[in-house]
């Protein structure tokens, strides 16, 4: 039986999140009221029938370990397969591998162990709710070495700059991957590759001292490999800057976007035991996304509240992202603000950022 295994490769992900990633990896950035960025890549994999997923991560992975736990929220707490978080821990003095090749080289066991003969590779910054079953079917039908998933974006923004553009012939075979700013066919960072080939490419890259498996081993060798393309259609976001992070959160406040991202199959995240949201007598909530555990007695508009946020009476929140367990006292006014986890805003405070550059308050601050 043809099967895929999963790999979420966080090496080489470009991101500019400043305060938001001082203490966490970009993959564990909170998103859309109760998720972390990595939930999308991970859920898309399990929704594709994948039963073993590895995560290559170099640093600040503590919150990631905490979030993923035993993998049970994704049904990946398995005796065979399951979830493997693979931080660097290499002790072979003869090892000469560089960049993400170090991860591939030092984790060969993971690839050999599984029954799968294809690998679905993904980053954490392409956000969508999908499965790759159809892409896999076409990958098999065309007997492709690699199938790259791309999407057609309406407006090219700075967050797309870091991704290659895909050019194909009329049959869908990839002819070039470029940085052409006018090409709207943006590679999503997601691709399917034959397992044996992947391991060959690892050897090749190490032999030639390369440090980026996709760039050096696939993109630069398109002529030698059979690389097919698969076009993803559907709601998506690329998130790799504070600006795109804020904008993509806010976009979800348009109902049709929220629906398109969260229709079935559901994205899974770590479960918690928060009770339903309590709206109190003075609550006025409008066009907002509210996660369980919140208690609201104030005025919330165009905002996203993560789990366990408290908003007291006579406070107003506008166009803001309020992360887990923040406490907003009375008579507070917040507009275009991002509060990281556990922020406590004292009574009477007034904070206003801009739409282009929201005001960010780091974790656990009292303001």
């Amino acid at each position: 039986m043809e099967r895929m295994m999963g790999l979420i490769n966080l090496e080489h992900e470009h991101h500019v999140f400043n305060e938001l990633t001082y203490f966490r990896n970009n993959a564990s950035l909170p998103f859309a009221g109760r998720y972390r960025l990595i939930d999308f890549a991970l859920s898309n994999m399990t929704n594709s029938g994948i039963e073993e997923v590895a995560v290559f991560v170099r640093n600040k992975y503590r919150s990631l370990l905490d979030h993923l736990g035993t993998g049970d929220s994704w049904d990946l707490d398995r005796r065979h397969g399951g979830l493997f978080i693979l931080p660097p821990d290499w002790n072979d003095p003869t090892d000469r591998s560089l960049g993400d090749l170090s991860f591939f080289h030092n984790n060969r066991d993971y690839f050999y162990r599984g029954k799968a003969n294809h690998v679905l590779v993904s980053g954490s910054q392409f956000i969508a709710n999908t499965d790759y079953k159809d892409a896999f079917k076409r990958h098999l039908i065309h007997d492709a070495d690699v199938t790259v998933i791309y999407t057609d974006v309406d407006t090219i923004g700075p967050e797309h700059q870091a991704y290659y553009r895909v050019e194909t012939d009329q049959d869908g075979w990839v002819t070039q991957m470029t940085n052409d700013h006018r090409n709207p066919n943006v590679f999503t960072g997601v691709y399917i590759i034959k397992k044996e080939l992947l391991l060959d490419i690892v050897d090749y890259c190490i032999a030639y001292n390369y440090d980026n498996l996709f760039m050096n081993g696939i993109k630069e060798r398109l002529q030698e490999l059979k690389v097919y393309s698969y076009r993803f259609e559907g709601y998506h976001a690329f998130i790799n800057t504070t600006e795109s992070y804020y904008r993509e959160n806010m976009k979800l406040l348009q109902e049709q976007n929220f629906l398109r991202l969260f229709q079935k199959p559901f994205i899974r995240t770590k479960v918690s035991s928060n009770p339903p949201v309590k709206y109190q007598a003075q609550a006025v909530v409008n066009n907002s996304i509210i996660a369980n555990g919140c208690i609201i007695n104030g005025d919330v508009e165009n905002s996203i509240l993560f789990r366990g946020v408290e908003v007291s009476e006579h406070s107003q929140i506008r166009n803001s992202i309020i992360m887990q367990r923040c406490k907003i006292e009375e008579d507070v006014y917040l507009e275009n603000v991002i509060l990281d986890k556990d922020v406590h805003v004292k009574s009477g405070q007034r904070i206003i950022g801009t739409k282009e550059k929201p005001y960010i308050v780091a974790k656990r601050q009292v303001v």
């Binding site: 109760r34 994205i267 035991s273 709206y279 609550a283 006025v284 909530v285 066009n287 996304i289």
Partner: protein, 388 residues
Amino acid sequence: MKECLGMLLAGGEGKRLGPLTSENAKPAVPFGGKYRIIDFTLSNCANSSIPTLGVLTQYSPIMLNRHIGTGKPWDMDRRDGGVTTLSPAIGKHGGDWYSGTADAIYQNIHFIDQYNPKYVLVISGDHIYQMNYQSILRQHKETAADATISVIEVPWDEASRFGILNTEDGLRIYEFDEKPAEPKNNLASMGIYMFTWSTLRKYLIEDAENKNSSHDFGKDIIPAMLEDNKPLFGYQFDGYWKDVGTIRSYWEATMDLLDENSGSPISVAREDMSKQIYTNEANLPPHFIGTSGTVINSLINSGCFIYGHILNSVIFQKVLVKKNAYINESILHPGVCVGEDVHLERVIVMENTEIADGVRIHALEEEEPIVINQENLSEYVAVREEIV
């Protein structure tokens, strides 16, 4: 060996809950915007470090079994112990359905014996309360009782509706009065029993052989123990406790959740980490309140889309309330879809019911709240049209 094993009676049919239990065991009825009734007892066990639990089912257990699953939400998916659902089975002597609460335990003596517990906690899965069973165990050990029964003070004028425990000083029980016409006491049994297993085991076997017995703890086992002058004690509980055995009490207990001063479990759970309520949670997105939505004094769970007006209500997951709908003092179970311009007041809407645009259903203040499902919906709609 386990010191204390729990046995949870979840076999009740809950007939007085009407349509709510027509296809579903009472303990599996949704409650509190996110939970099922049995979650409160299961969470009590989890919070009390009672990690080995038998759940006795017999009536429509599929939903219940699926809800409990491996027991993971309550950390009861253990290698040794954890939660086990126990349905009646054929043994060497042929099969029997459970014929009473005591019989249900009797038929599972082998199950209990394999853990060789010193104490057995017998509870039922159809009350809403938060109790740390370690406290009753501690008192049970201190008084060297054979049985300790949790009791709660009820108003004197209601006492005749309950099983009343008549006690001496120190809460030693000398009499169990089932629904006494003239109560001597106002301490009602909560149906929570801590037994010394060796004693209970003996009485269960004797009771099983007694053809005249109804095999019930309250009617047979406890009186037999009292007759033999065994040390039985009351354990006084003074927290929130609510039976949800009728549609009215189910609705009232739900409304209690909206009153932060009622002491009902959800408010307590927010404040106290040791009193969390766990459930087999769907992994749903947060809910979305549209520009036309308003919500006041209500609980709303994840996965909902709210474009209408919600007042004094409890809304479960995956509910859609369309524009200009007006929901007051009502309970919407998971997956309910409420059309535009619908008015509901004192209504309980069962899972996945779709209510078409413009429908209006009200139960009057003095009436029992109306329970709606897809099948009976047309009756109420017809009534409305006649009135019009």
